[in-house]
């Protein structure tokens, strides 16, 4: 008896204190997507291909000039991935100042959470071909009071590289995150999170943005699955089963006697 009680006590205390250290250590760096310039963690995320609102080449052709945009989230962050490529023959002076593949990645986007707009400002900086660069991410409330909500100094990463098989083009890939806690917004069930690059202050969504046309969006769904009910029903069934067993045992003993 004492041995059993002692075992329970040891087990419970071990569970509480050992797991504290183990699980905290494992889950500390458990974001679904790491902002580190390694884009492999986006491989499994479905994306949206949108046409760019800027010409792909000097003639204004937009053939095959697309941006692959991916959105995701977890309990801590909303994540954005933008993959696009440019033709070096194009007049892209606002992005690439010289032909030695030198890119300025200072850009602005808008994110809508259940229809509410937020402006995203990517930090200043330049990056050369084959190199990566971390940048800061700032987010402000885009309507009403212009309230600055998020400043994440290591919130984004950009990488620039030549497109394989076509040295006249090169692509740059962004990934950045927005802290849900700093944003202080509850994402309602069955709501939409979308990204645009529209600079218009009225009717943000649906307009051709500065960098791409339209919007990339995800729909968040969620609801309680009611686990407490099944836990309670389990207790009832177990108790009912135990009562049934006692009755049956008594009955069979009486019959036997």
């Amino acid at each position: 008896m004492k041995k059993t009680m002692f075992t329970i006590l040891v087990l419970v205390i071990s569970l509480l204190f050992v797991s504290t250290h183990l699980v905290e250590r494992v889950s500390a760096d458990s974001s679904s997507i790491q902002i580190d310039g390694n884009f492999n963690d986006w491989d499994n995320v479905p994306g949206t291909q949108l046409n760019s609102s800027q010409p792909a080449d000097i003639n204004g052709t937009q053939t095959d000039f697309q941006r692959d945009i991916k959105l995701s989230y977890d309990e801590d962050y909303i994540y954005v991935y933008i993959d696009s490529w440019y033709d070096l023959n194009a007049d892209m002076s606002n992005h690439f100042s010289t032909l030695d593949k030198y890119a300025n990645f200072h850009q602005q986007y808008y994110i809508f959470i259940d229809g509410k707009p937020y402006q995203i400002q990517l930090g200043n900086g330049t990056v050369t071909n084959g190199e990566g660069h971390a940048f800061s991410v700032d987010v402000s409330q885009a309507f009403g009071d212009w309230q600055h909500l998020v400043h994440d100094t290591q919130g984004g990463y950009v990488d620039v590289e030549t497109v394989k098989g076509d040295e006249s083009k090169f692509k740059y890939v962004y990934e950045f995150r927005i802290s849900r806690k700093d944003l202080a917004v509850t994402i309602p069930e069955n709501s939409e999170i979308s990204l645009t690059s529209s600079g218009e202050y009225d009717d943000f969504e649906g307009k051709d943005g500065q960098y791409f046309k339209g919007k990339a969006s995800i729909t968040y769904v969620g609801a309680s699955s009611g686990p407490w009910i099944i836990a309670f029903l389990g207790l009832l069934i177990a108790f009912f089963g135990y009562r049934l067993r006692l009755k049956r045992q008594t009955k069979e003993k009486n019959t036997g006697a």
Partner: protein, 196 residues
């Protein structure tokens, strides 16, 4: 630290009350106090520490089914199930309530103090229960994700809150019934046969 100290004191009181019920041979009270106490301890423990682990394993398990059928994909570390409905991307989060942790804690608590089974039987049944709840939850989440893939986010309420829940409840109640009533009645019958 204060929280841990409080939990420790409550655990000590709980263990003392268990020893009282055991010595007084009040099996029903021992079972109720034991299973409820362990359930509360497991739920308190799981809130800060085990949710991440359960949600990750559950999302990974659902992801295996999704990858096999090619209907949906998952991000296990983010606890996200990603479903493509035509051109739309629907994300579903495997959170605390969805992870199966409450049901698992409830079953383990009940089986740990159920006065019928021997220690070895309890251990095997607990393991079987954990595996069954895991599998049943995968079936439920696969059903919800498949509905989203076929009918879009408008079907979510019906698929998740009604049909999915119903499916899970039927599976769980069948399991509980098998373990706590049918299983032990068979055991009683065989015990009586042995004694006669």
């Amino acid at each position: 630290m204060l929280m841990k100290t409080i939990i420790l004191i409550v655990v000590l009181l709980w263990i003392y009350s268990l020893s009282v019920f055991k010595r007084a041979k009040l099996d029903a009270f021992y079972f109720l106090m034991g299973s409820l106490g362990l359930f509360i301890v497991l739920v308190l423990w799981s809130k800060p520490y085990a949710i991440w682990l359960f949600s990750t394993i559950m999302t990974w398990g659902v992801g295996l089914v999704g990858d096999f059928f090619g209907i949906f994909s998952t991000l296990p570390l983010g606890h996200v199930i990603q479903v493509l409905y035509h051109e739309r991307i629907i994300l579903m989060n495997v959170d605390y309530e969805c992870s199966g942790i409450v049901e698992t804690a409830a079953f383990v608590s009940l089986i740990s103090f159920y006065p019928v089974f021997k220690v070895q039987q309890r251990l095997w049944l607990a393991l079987t229960g954990v595996a069954f709840i895991f599998a049943a939850n995968i079936v439920r989440l696969t059903f919800v994700a498949t509905s989203l893939h076929l009918f879009g986010s408008d079907s979510f309420f019906l698929a998740h809150s009604i049909l999915g829940r119903l499916l899970f409840y039927v599976l769980m109640l069948t399991f509980y019934f098998t373990i706590f009533t049918r299983g032990q009645l068979i055991q009683v019958a065989s015990q009586n046969r042995e004694t006669t």
